[in-house]
Subunit: 141 residues, 2 copies
């Protein structure tokens, strides 16, 4: 039973283990490309033709509430799902819009707990620019 751990996750957060939820979680496990809800929907629709966008949103919302996933806002009007809750940075390509994970050792130590009396819960660092592939394409012109 390859879904055992997924079902365990759902049990832990007291959500019924429906085929739709299992499919969403399985998909997120295999897919670390920061997909959008719409992309998840379009892909799962092949397996579950009747799946509803509302179910995608509902499930993602529940997983987010439980801290199992996060949401990234790098572009206007588009949210990307982050399945890797280990602290890390992102590089966003302004040309192809791809999001790359940037792992840095620094997260081992220098996370401050406060700044100016503000209580810090999390930190995000985002690099914007052009990925190597887009840089070479540009060079061809």
């Amino acid at each position: 039973m390859k879904y055992n751990d997924t079902i365990k996750i759902l049990k832990e957060i007291k959500l019924k283990a429906t085929p739709q939820r299992i499919a969403i979680i399985e998909f997120l496990k295999e897919n670390r490309t920061h997909p959008t809800p719409r992309q998840i929907y379009d892909l799962l629709k092949k397996e579950y033709p009747s799946i509803s966008l509302a179910t995608i949103y509902n499930t993602l919302s529940a997983l987010k509430d439980e801290g199992i996933i996060e949401e990234l806002y790098l572009e206007k009007d588009i949210s990307h799902i982050e399945c890797n809750t280990t602290p890390h940075d992102h590089f966003f390509c302004l040309s192809c819009k791809k999001i790359f994970d940037i792992m840095e050792d620094k997260y081992k130590d220098d996370i401050p707990h406060t700044i100016k009396d503000f209580k810090i819960i999390s930190i995000r660092k985002e690099y914007f620019g052009y990925c190597d592939e887009c840089v070479s394409k540009e060079g061809e012109n």
Copy 2:
């Protein structure tokens, strides 16, 4: 003529100096609270009852294209206008949703130009948590 420099800005980027555009730029000059397009609209409506949201969006889009302002995406579905193009960080309060500027000296030196062959254009760092005011309110309970 207090609007002289605003008109100069518009001339430089070859946009007609309409009262609406002047009002938007003057508003942004005085208001460094990262307002949303809707907030700008609601406030300018008092002075220009017939102003259109489309004009706000058009003007902001033009100013952004010229690098005069930037746009921040910290919350789902909400864009905030950044009028201060000097590099700096942000603290976003998860409770009151206010955005605070965080100025750090580090921007004087350590901005890398590349990471893993990616060409970096800009960097953003965001702190999420609870501002001092919300922390004290919470303490009252």
